[in-house]
């Protein structure tokens, strides 16, 4: 009997000097692996525009129906994202979310990633429906997030869906450019064969004329 107790104590003593596997949260925080999936972050481009174009693909991919989006049209006065469309409302219900990461897989612009943010507790369920303002990274920062760790390095000489974009069609850069082509210079309008009638047409529809 005593022998067994000593054996057990021996095990304890053996572990005594080793570094503990627990941490004293919240004073100390654990170093998480780069692919850890915590709360979502919405990213921006270098120029401050939002990457999200409000395409609903993340909401469509979500197995838990946790994402709700309402999209709207960018205007020249109020440009939120490149191209025509942006998400006016972007809500993630973290109570429904199962942190599977399908949303970041579905995203064509790399706008949404699951980051190392895990401090998600609240006494009010409605606090855990995160809105766009809470999810967006602050103006001035333009990170790519964990997508960098998830995306494999593109092999050379893979087909390009877009001119001038060499490399692997990773669903990020390529279609991001495609949906963001609102920034590219448009060819001179040849609507109705000549500019004159095109302008007439716009006048009829009460649109401001170009060059006025």
């Amino acid at each position: 009997m005593a022998m067994e107790m000593l054996k057990g104590l021996g095990t304890t003593l053996k572990e005594f000097g080793k570094k503990p596997t627990t941490v004293s949260y919240p004073e100390e925080k654990r170093q998480l692996p780069p692919r850890f999936r915590g709360r979502h972050v919405l990213h921006r481009y270098e120029n401050g525009l939002e990457r999200c174009v409000g395409c609903f693909l993340c909401a469509g991919a979500c197995p838990a129906d946790a994402i709700y989006i309402e999209a709207e049209e960018n205007t020249d006065e109020q440009r939120v994202s490149p191209g025509e469309r942006y998400a006016r409302v972007f809500d993630v219900n973290l109570l429904r979310c199962i942190f599977c990461g399908y949303c970041e897989q579905a995203c064509p612009t790399g706008a949404i990633t699951l980051e190392n943010i895990y401090e998600l507790a609240s006494t009010h369920p409605e606090d855990l429906v995160y809105h766009k303002e809470q999810l967006l990274e602050p103006v001035g920062s333009a990170t790519r997030g964990s997508i960098v760790d998830w995306t494999p390095t593109p092999p050379e000489a893979t087909p390009t869906p877009l001119p001038g974009r060499q490399g692997y069609f990773d669903g990020l850069e390529a279609s991001a450019a495609a949906v963001g082509q609102g920034d590219m210079p448009a060819e001179q309008a040849v609507f109705l064969g000549d500019d004159l009638s095109g302008m007439e047409h716009r006048r009829r529809l009460g649109e401001p004329e170009e060059g006025e």
Partner: protein, 775 residues
């Protein structure tokens, strides 16, 4: 379908198939369930062969053939899956995608896009095109409702062919040539057609998108429910697309007999009244002069108490009910049942008021032929009717008839969109449609233009009654060209098959009291009756104008147009309803609004909107006014109790359209919180009155209608199927499973209407503008 069609036998992918001679390979493959991808071809339009997507390999043909332009031949062997075909399709797609921007994530079509789908199924994985794509300013408006993104366009010309050949309206045209080709509109010919939305639906890419659908959702977010449009009396088959709690659009759900696959812009987009934030979410009771929210229980009990009190103090005749031409057949039926069997009064009517000649025993003035029958007509006469604005898809069918060679005469007081296309246009002073009809009868009876024995007989009967109504008199009174009328009469009399249509509203004109009967006589005397492509009838205003009447929302007839005094009907209905029914006719719409009743129950109608000051005063003087509606209408603002109802997208039921087709409406979304379907409210009131109604669903009510209303005999929710059935129903047969089936007959025959004609001459009816619920 009587004559035997010549069939051609061919083999597609090893499967034998027989199709009528002249069919396209595409149609034959369709019959076998083999998909052949198409962009430019549209089954409702002539083939073009522009997109080169539908390549198939035909044995012994040196090159790939386009399935949409190649007609079948005996013994043809077609392959849709050979390596050559696959390569051809992939090549076509690679070309189509050269300038396509691939902005699917932000494109409204993304998710229901043929270019996307076929690229996934048949396309190459990548592109060898490494130059810059074309860029255009995007999007540009082509009309008030539609935006054009030229980058996405693949120049299939579906939209252009629709506006030019189907709608025959100003609209989209192809501009330029070669790689410069693009869709455009001419500023001098604006694209303002009511059919414009169809180009958005048929665009196989996201080049044409709707302004009010722009970026509001993605297709996979939508709940799609097959239903029937509730915006006018045509009853086009639609798919209601709902996201969460909003109806975003209606798409066409092709029913060749009714809409031919098209839908008008009103049906497609005019749905804001359903999404209205002003809609009522709780019952209201007037207390201290203010309408105050109460619970459903309290409201229903209050309504029952007050109705009972009025009945006990002043008798059942002091209670009246105004029903709706917008609610379902089931609700109209329950409404009149509540008033007749529950409260014991025949004071039941609807907004149109007494419809001419719904006399005891007669059928109503229903359109004796069908919408599809218009295609077979050699002549179509529109008498005071403007289908373009009021029944747009009927107008589109008339255009199809024009293309098939029909001579159309537009006889209207005001300019009509069809004027440009028709054989003859006759103008007259508004309000004299009836005068014109009688003048036409006068010409036909006095010039001996009657055809057939029945026609001659009827002409003899009518000659005296229209002897004074010469075209010259019409010219004097109505400012019409007498010679033009004579020519028109001769055209009708000489027609292979003429359809004469008038607007329901014209029967309410001072001159229109006998219009319905006169027009029917016109058709009967000239032998244009009881066969496809010939007939007469009204174009009705609302989605269930006919159903409301069928269900007995009339003061003098029970459901199925049986007179209120009919003993047999009393025995049958009273037995089924476990009640003694009142035998004397009730008060009409106008009589009820002129102080004839003390308590008024209004379901889905808004009499106050078009009421005269006297009628408003009468409404205010009522002891008790209950209103069931979606919003606080002018009438509801005067009510004692307001009960919130729901729109047709939020409930099950059935509508009967202007050509007598009974069709199912399906619930496409959750009812607005706090509101209830009209039938639920009626059941609630009946139960509060102690009537012991036990209906649990509209299907149960419809089955009761099938049992108790001879006109709808045998109707069940199941028997109506996906495309509805037209009354009068032919006797049912039994399917092997023992289920009764009903088949609709296309035309009302002479025998059916003969009795009605005899009773036609009936004065009455004032001018009441047709109204719409939730407008």
């Amino acid at each position: 379908m009587a004559e035997q069609e010549e069939l051609v036998n061919l083999t597609i992918d090893g499967q034998p198939v027989s199709v009528p001679k002249g069919s396209l390979i595409w149609a034959a493959a369709q019959k076998l369930g083999i998909e052949i991808p198409i962009y430019c071809y549209h089954p409702k339009m002539d083939p073009l062969g522009a997109c080169r997507m539908c390549f198939v390999e035909v044995e012994k043909m040196p090159k790939l053939a386009t399935a949409c332009t190649t007609t079948v031949a005996e013994g043809m062997v077609v392959s849709t899956t050979s390596a050559k075909v696959k390569k051809g399709r992939a090549g076509t797609l690679e070309f189509l995608l050269i300038n396509h921007p691939l902005d699917c994530p932000i494109c409204d079509k993304g998710g229901e896009c043929d270019l996307q789908d076929f690229t996934l199924r048949y396309g190459p994985g990548g592109s060898r095109f490494d130059l810059n794509k074309r860029h255009f300013e995007k999007p540009i408006p082509v009309s008030e409702n539609i935006l054009l993104d030229r980058e996405r366009c693949i120049a299939c010309q579906r939209c252009v062919r629709f506006t030019q050949t189907v709608a025959m309206e100003n609209g989209l045209v192809m501009e330029q040539r070669g790689f410069r080709i693009e869709v455009g509109v001419d500023p001098a010919a604006p694209f303002d057609s009511i059919f414009s939305g169809n180009v958005v639906e048929m665009c196989p890419v996201g080049a044409l998108t709707a302004k009010n659908y722009r970026f509001v959702t993605r297709p996979w977010e939508l709940k799609k429910t097959p239903s029937v449009c509730g915006n006018c009396s045509v009853g086009c088959n639609v798919r209601v697309d709902v996201r969460v709690d909003k109806v975003l659009r209606q798409y066409s759900r092709t029913n060749d007999a009714i809409d031919d696959g098209w839908l008008c812009d009103r049906g497609r987009w005019d749905l804001d009244w359903i999404n209205d934030t002003e809609r009522l979410r709780t019952p209201l009771i007037r207390r201290d002069g203010q309408l105050q929210p109460v619970s459903w229980d309290e409201a229903l009990r209050f309504v029952a108490e007050r109705l009972r009190a009025v009945r006990d103090q002043r008798g059942a005749r002091a209670i009246g009910g105004i029903g709706s031409t917008h609610t379902t057949n089931e609700e109209a039926y329950l409404f009149q049942k509540l008033l007749r069997a529950g409260l014991g009064t025949n004071n039941v009517d609807h907004a149109h008021g007494r419809f001419p000649a719904t006399e005891p025993g007669a059928l109503p003035w229903a359109w004796s032929d069908s919408i599809a029958g218009l295609e077979q007509a050699s002549h179509i006469v529109l008498l005071g009717a403007d289908p373009y604005h009021r029944q747009p898809i009927v107008d589109l069918r008339i255009r199809k008839a024009i293309r098939a060679g029909a001579r159309v005469y537009v006889v209207t007081p005001e300019a009509n969109r069809l004027d440009r296309l028709v054989a003859g246009v006759i103008r007259y002073t508004a309000g004299h449609t009836g005068t014109l009809a009688r003048a036409l009868l006068n010409i036909i009876t006095s010039d001996g233009l009657a055809r057939g024995e029945q026609g001659a007989q009827r002409a003899a009967d009518r000659r005296a009654s229209v002897a004074q109504e010469t075209p010259e008199r019409a010219a004097q009174v109505a400012g019409v060209d007498a010679d033009a009328l004579r020519e028109l009469a001769r055209e009708i009399a000489g027609a292979k098959g003429a359809v004469i249509l008038y607007d329901e509203a014209a029967t309410l004109e001072p001159s229109g009291a006998t219009l319905a009967a006169d027009v029917l006589d016109l058709a009967l005397i000239t032998g244009n009756f009881g066969k496809p492509g010939a007939g007469a009838g009204p174009l009705l205003a609302d989605n269930n104008s006919l159903g409301a009447r069928d269900m007995g929302l009339l003061p003098d007839t029970l459901p199925g147009y049986r007179p209120v005094g009919d003993a047999a009907a009393h025995a049958a209905l009273g037995g089924a309803w476990l009640a003694t029914l009142p035998a004397e006719p009730g008060l009409s719409y106008t009589e009820m609004l002129s102080g004839g009743v003390k308590a008024l129950y209004v379901m889905g109608a808004n009499p106050a909107r078009d009421a005269t000051p006297e009628q408003l005063a009468a409404l205010d003087a009522l002891d008790f006014l209950v209103v069931q509606d979606l919003t606080l209408t002018e009438t509801a603002q005067r009510a004692t109790v307001v009960l919130p109802a729901v729109a047709y997208t939020e409930k099950d039921g059935s509508f009967t359209n202007t050509e007598r087709c009974v069709q199912l409406v399906r619930r496409a979304m959750q009812p607005l919180g706090g509101a209830k379907a009209d039938w639920e409210i009626l059941v609630g009131v009946a139960r509060a009155l102690g009537l012991g109604w036990t209906y649990l669903s509209p299907a149960e009510i419809l089955s009761e209608i099938g049992r108790t209303v001879p006109l709808y005999a045998g109707v069940t929710r199941r028997s109506l199927g996906a495309e509805g059935v037209r009354w009068p129903f032919a006797p049912g047969e039994r399917t092997p499973e023992g289920r009764a089936t009903i088949t609709g007959s296309p035309s009302i025959t002479w025998q059916m209407l003969a009795e009605g004609v005899a009773r036609a001459q009936k004065p009455g009816g004032e001018l009441i503008a047709p109204r719409g619920r939730g407008e």
